[in-house]
């Protein structure tokens, strides 16, 4: 499990498969106060993420590791509001993959 797929071009967090890593490009819109809720749980532009686990039914909810130190569970419907791009710098990639 040391080789992780990095997110390709920008795509919503809800579409990433298990084990993918990436960097948050944007946290936008979403219903109601989803944006602030996401920001308060650590989903902020520039943070590194890794998709760790899925639920059984409908692969929902999703457990995501943020910046190595916090794991957050969210539903796919909320994950749509988080746009993920590739990890650009290699240092961040090694940081994530070595653990």
């Amino acid at each position: 499990m040391d080789h992780k797929a990095s997110a390709g071009l920008a795509q919503p967090l809800s579409q990433l498969s298990r084990g993918s890593v990436g960097r948050i490009l944007a946290v936008q819109g979403g219903e109601g106060d989803v944006e602030r809720g996401l920001l308060e749980m650590g989903f902020v532009e520039g943070a590194c993420i890794e998709v760790l686990h899925y639920g059984l039914l409908g692969r929902d909810p999703v457990a995501v590791r943020i910046n190595q130190n916090m794991t957050v569970a969210l539903r796919r419907s909320e994950a749509k509001a988080v746009l993920i791009g590739p990890l650009l710098d290699q240092s961040a990639a090694t940081l994530l993959t070595t653990h």
């Binding site: 308060e40 909810p61 457990a63």
Partner: protein, 633 residues
Amino acid sequence: MTAGTLAAEGFRPARIALVGPPNSGKTTLFNTLTGGRQKTANYPGVTVERKSGLLKTPIGHTVEVLDLPGSYSLRARSPDEAITRDVVLGRQTQETLPDAVVCVTDATNLGQHLRLLLELQQLGRPLILVLNMMDIAQKRGCQISVDALSQQLGIPVVTTVAMRKSGVRDLLNQIDSLLNRTSTQSEATAIDWVEPSPEAIRAYHREVERLLQSAVVSEGTPERLTRQLDRVLLHPVAGPLILLALLFLMFQAVFSWAAAPMDWIDASVVGLQQWLSTHLQESLLKSLLIDGIIAGVGGVVIFLPQILILFLFILLLEDSGYMTRAAFLMDRLMSAVGLNGRAFIPLLSSFACAIPGIMATRTIAHPLDRLVTILIAPLMTCSARLPVYVLLIAAFVPATTVWGGIGLQGLVMFGLYATGIVGALVVAGVLRLTLLRGGRQPLLMELPSYKWPNATNVLLGLWDRARIFMRRIGTIILSLMVVLWFLSTFPAPPAGATEPAIYYSFAGMIGRTLEPLLEPIGFNWQIAIALVPGLAAREVAVAALGTVYALSGDEGAVSDALTTTLAHSWTLATALSLLAWYVFAPQCLATLAAVRRETNSWRWAAFMFTYLMILAYVAAFITYRVALALGGG
């Protein structure tokens, strides 16, 4: 003026509020700081507990420490986070602004936890930053320059190891010097504050980033154990199976471990009754004491072991960090009926007793989610239903085994639990499609690192539950028992009465008035009478049935005798109908009171009562008719 001199002059002690994100070890720190000197009360109007305790600082200040509910931000999302916000801002009624705020953060997760500190700093009140769990941070090779952090922030920063007394000495010293510097008696008014906008939160993120760059010497390695455990415990297939196995073990333990202490309680209650009946003169007072108070209260105290064992498991699972995983695993299933995965925890507590379950809903952010969870909580089979189930199953279900060794009696018991759960899911689904329609609430839940449960936290939590339960017995249940004793004792039967005394009493009159209404579901007047006291608290019905039948000639009948009596005088259809009734009927005044307090209106309590009553009647009617048709008459 220092707080010390002020205290000597009879002023209130200085007050300090502990604020921190969930999973920052705040409660452990609170327990270490205050030890057993804690008080739990309720904030007016809500069921959020106000936890406070006293501590003495090294130079002798007496300080009241307030443990506020965990919160990621002052922008409160749930009722208990709102309490945190309101206390910190001085908006909470009957609570003056704290003299200082201690912001507790997890040293291994400063990137996320420091934002709350920055928010608090905006308020301009005396503030201390605590980097908690410093031992774990160091073990992982994480090095933080406390001086640099303190200098950048301009506030005192201390590191603690919350579980050890020695780990909080620095904090106590800082509290001392802070109290010496600030006047604790200024009655500051509420602070102006506006919710941060998304942009403001982003700015906090950037500021935290900057702070960490200058203060974190070495990041250390993240811990691996949690990841490895989660690979199994959150596995799409293995995860739910493990959860199921855990729940099964838990209920198994609730029944088998509780059996012995329940026998002791039972024996001492009976012993006390016998002692009193031989030593007291025949009088009304004696009857009130023995039949009313001791029988009634004893019938409720007996559930304490089961409730404590169930809560022991719940507290262990919560403190270890597993409970959020359970919520994760259950979320999809529960969201199918419009519930949030977080509702799993309150609903699980409701198997012990709906009241703590309803109180636990305060962690659910969305008001509609919360309301639905509250409304279905009484459908979880609480321990007060058990004596009725046990009695009826023993009397009517043969103790045979089916399908290779599974006991039929146990199977029926399982069926009753399952009916309650399925009923709850259906009701939740229907409510979410009709009365309580509304947007789905985000899940957004931190999955904290696993850790060994802290014994102090768990024991204090258990003590809290026991106290709440015993207080309820000492107040509501005790007074109800007296009222019920009165209703079932007066007026006295006429001379030459042929029926048991209770038949002629007020309770009997009410029961007989209800009888025509209950006849279609197969209840006789004896059941109708037992249901009158049973409305106040379910388990009382067993004692009431005992009274009805014991007085019809069977002198000294106890529950064993009742089993035989019932088996002879009721039909199977009636017994099944009563079981179905008990799955749904809202027979607990204390729960209704808790619903009223939590929802702040009698409307929802009345709604709950009505819908459960209708469900109970319909379920009992169908059960009775089907059983009759199948020859159960």
